[in-house]
Subunit: 339 residues, 2 copies
DNA sequence: TTGAAAGCGCTAACAT
DNA sequence: ATGTTAGCGCTTTCAA
C-alpha cells in the first residue's frame, strides 16, 4: 500500500490469467470484452482464473492497443457556480451507462488556462472533449478543430460552433427579461452583477438587457458590479450598495439567481416591499429562488439538460449518427412574484 | 472532424517530431518531459519541430511505458448535493497544479455501483483513488486495500480507514447540535430528513442527535422523512407536513441546510415566528443560510478543505512523505438566529 | 549530450 | 472456437 509513486498495484496481467486458465492471452481478452465467440466451458475457466488472481484489466494498455480511450474530457470555468455541477450531472448521466468516464478540469474563467487544459486532455486521446462557451483562444480552437474527435461547446449557442454546440442564447435571455420588466411598467433600472470580465455569458445577458431597455426609451439608473464570483451574500451587500448610491430605481436585474436571492434577502431585512418598492429579476431558476416565500422572477435554464444533450451528442457521434451542429435547449421566463 | 470512433486525431507521433528535428525519439521525449541534459540548440530544434507539426503527446502510451498515470479517480455519491462539488473543488485546486487530472464518477449513493466504479477506475491505473465515506462493500474494500495505490476516504472519519481518511465526525456533529438545542431550553423535537437509507452520514447525525436528546430526557415528538434527495422545496413541504401531523414541537433538526432553509421559508410564508414558536437547525453552513434575514443555526462543515486535504495527502504520499491515517478537519457550530 | 534496443500490457488482423 | 504475430507510442535501461 505504499509505492513511492503509487502505481504498481495489481501486478497481475492478462498473461497471468491466461496461464492460470490454460488458454492464450487473446482468449482472456475476448472473455473480458465479451467479444467474439467463446465456449461456455472456456469462459468459466477464464472467469475463475480472473477471480482467483484478482485481475484488474489495464485500460491504459488496452486503449493504446485499440487506439481509443473511453475518457471524455470536460473543461468548465468553475465548480463554485452551481450551474456547472448541474451540467456535469447531466453529462455524467448520459455517458456513464455506456462506460465512458469524465475527466474534469476547471479554468477559473481564464481562456489561457483553457488552452493548456485542452492540450493536456487531448494527450489522453479522449473520445470527446466538452468545453464551455463559444469564446476560445485561437490556439484552443485550432487544436480542437484538428484533433479529429467530437467537440461539444456547452452553455452557449450565440457563436459559431467548432463542431457541436448545445446550450441556449444568453442574448435572448437578457432581451426577454428586459421585455418582461418593461411590460410590467418598470422604467428606471438597476443592474447588480459579478465579475463580468470573466463570466462572458453574464456579460452577454447584461448587454442584451441594456440594449433592449434603451431601445424602449428606459435607462440604466445605476449598477454595482462586485469583483469576485457570484454568491448570495455578494448579492445582498451589492443591492444595499446600489440603493445607497442611486435613488429612484424601480427594478433590478441581477447577473444570476444567487445574486438575486441575496437581493431579496436584503429587501426582507431592510423592510423594502418587493415588488411594490423594488422589483427583482434573476437568472437560472434555481430551486431555492422558487421556494422563497415570493418566488423569484427569473429565467429557468436547463443546465442538466445541456449536459445530458452534450453527452447524447457524444454517444450519437460515436455510434455514427448525425448530430446537429447546434442544439438550443431553450429557457423559460418564470414570472414569479418579485417583479 | 468526423472519425467514426472519435480518436485517431493528431496522427503525429514522437517519431514524426524526431524525424523533423533530425534527432532520435528519446531526445524528443526528453525535451518534452524536461528530463535529462539537452543541448540548448537541440532543444530549440525539437521545440520548433513540435510546433511545426502540432504534436500532442500521447499520455496513454507514456503511461503504459512508465507504469503510471497522472489520473486521480474520485467516486462521490452525487453531484446534486452541493457538498460534493465543494469537495471536488478543493481536490481540484490541490492536484491540478501538479498536473494530476480528476476522473469523476458518481454512485448515486449505491454501494454496489461504487464497487463497479472502483474496478473501472482502477483499470486506469490512477495515482490515487478518492472514495466517499467509510462504508463500502467488502469487494470494494479489498480491491482498494490491495491495489497498491493511495486511497483516501473523504467526508467521514467515524470508521476504520482503508489507507487515509479526511473528514469530520458526523456523530459528533449530531451530538453537538442536540446539546446546543438542549442548552437553549428546547425539549420537544422534530426531525425533517431526506432519504436516510442512502445518505449514511445524515443517518449517523440523526442517530447521534436522537441518542443525545433522549439521554437528556427529551423526546422526538415527530419526524418526516422525504424519499428523494434533499432540497429546499422538499424541506419546505416536509416541515409543513410535520406541523400538520404533530403539535407542540418546539425545535426541528433538519438533515441539512437545504432542507432547513426550506423550513425557514415555510415559516416565513405561514407566519410562524422563528425561533419563538419554532426553532430550526440545519447542517453544512451554506452561504445561503447565513445570508438569510435571520442566519440559520447550523454546523459549518469544511467541504472545500476536505477536498484540499485529500488532494494534499495524495501529493504528499506521491512525494514519499508520511501522511496521517486520519485527518479531522473539524466543524463549527454556528449559533445563527433560528434557534 | 545523445542514441539503440527492449519492452510496458494489451488488441487487431490474420490464421487455424 | 482458439491461437499467433505484430504492433500501439512511448519510456527505461544501458551504451557510447
Amino acid at each position: 500500500m505504499k509505492g513511492r509513486r503509487g502505481f504498481q498495484q495489481s501486478a497481475f496481467t492478462l498473461t497471468d490469467v491466461a496461464r492460470e486458465a490454460g488458454v492464450s492471452e487473446i482468449t482472456v481478452s475476448r472473455v473480458i470484452r465479451a467479444k467474439g465467440a467463446i465456449a461456455e466451458e472456456t469462459r468459466r475457466r477464464v472467469e475463475a482464473a480472473i477471480r482467483k488472481v484478482g485481475y484488474v484489466p489495464n485500460r491504459i494498455a488496452g486503449s493504446l492497443a485499440s487506439a481509443g480511450s473511453d475518457l471524455i474530457g470536460i473543461i468548465i470555468p468553475s465548480l463554485g457556480n452551481i450551474v456547472f455541477p448541474d451540467v456535469l450531472r447531466g453529462l455524467h448521466d448520459a455517458i456513464s451507462g455506456r462506460g465512458f468516464r469524465a475527466v474534469v478540469s476547471v479554468t477559473d474563467y481564464r481562456l489561457d488556462a483553457e488552452r493548456d487544459l485542452v492540450r493536456a486532455l487531448l494527450s489522453w486521446r479522449p473520445a470527446a472533449l466538452i468545453v464551455t462557451g463559444c469564446e476560445h483562444e485561437p490556439d484552443s480552437r485550432h487544436m480542437l478543430a484538428h484533433a479529429g474527435l467530437t467537440v461539444v461547446e456547452v452553455m452557449d449557442i450565440d457563436g459559431d460552433p467548432i463542431d457541436i454546440a448545445v446550450g441556449m442564447s444568453h442574448a435572448r435571455a437578457g432581451r426577454e427579461t428586459a421585455a418582461f420588466l418593461l411590460g410590467r411598467g418598470y422604467r428606471r433600472f438597476g443592474y447588480v452583477g459579478h465579475d463580468l470580465e470573466r463570466d462572458l455569458r453574464a456579460r452577454r445577458r447584461r448587454e442584451a438587457f441594456l440594449a433592449t431597455i434603451r431601445q424602449a426609451g428606459a435607462s440604466l439608473a445605476g449598477e454595482v458590479i462586485v469583483p469576485g464570483p457570484s454568491s448570495v451574500p455578494a448579492g445582498r451587500t451589492a443591492l444595499a450598495a446600489l440603493r445607497d448610491a442611486h435613488g429612484g430605481i424601480d427594478a433590478v436585474y441581477f447577473s444570476n439567481d444567487d445574486m438575486a436571492i441575496g437581493g431579496v434577502f436584503h429587501c426582507m431585512a431592510a423592510g423594502i416591499a418587493v415588488p411594490a418598492s423594488l422589483a427583482i429579476a434573476g437568472f437560472n431558476g434555481l430551486d431555492m429562488g422558487q421556494a422563497l416565500p415570493q418566488p423569484l422572477t427569473t429565467v429557468l435554464t436547463r443546465r442538466y439538460e445541456i449536459g445530458r444533450c452534450a453527452g447524447q451528442a457524444v454517444l450519437d457521434r460515436f455510434d455514427g449518427l448525425a448530430v446537429p451542429a447546434a442544439t438550443d435547449v431553450g429557457f423559460e421566463l418564470l414570472p414569479g412574484a418579485t417583479a
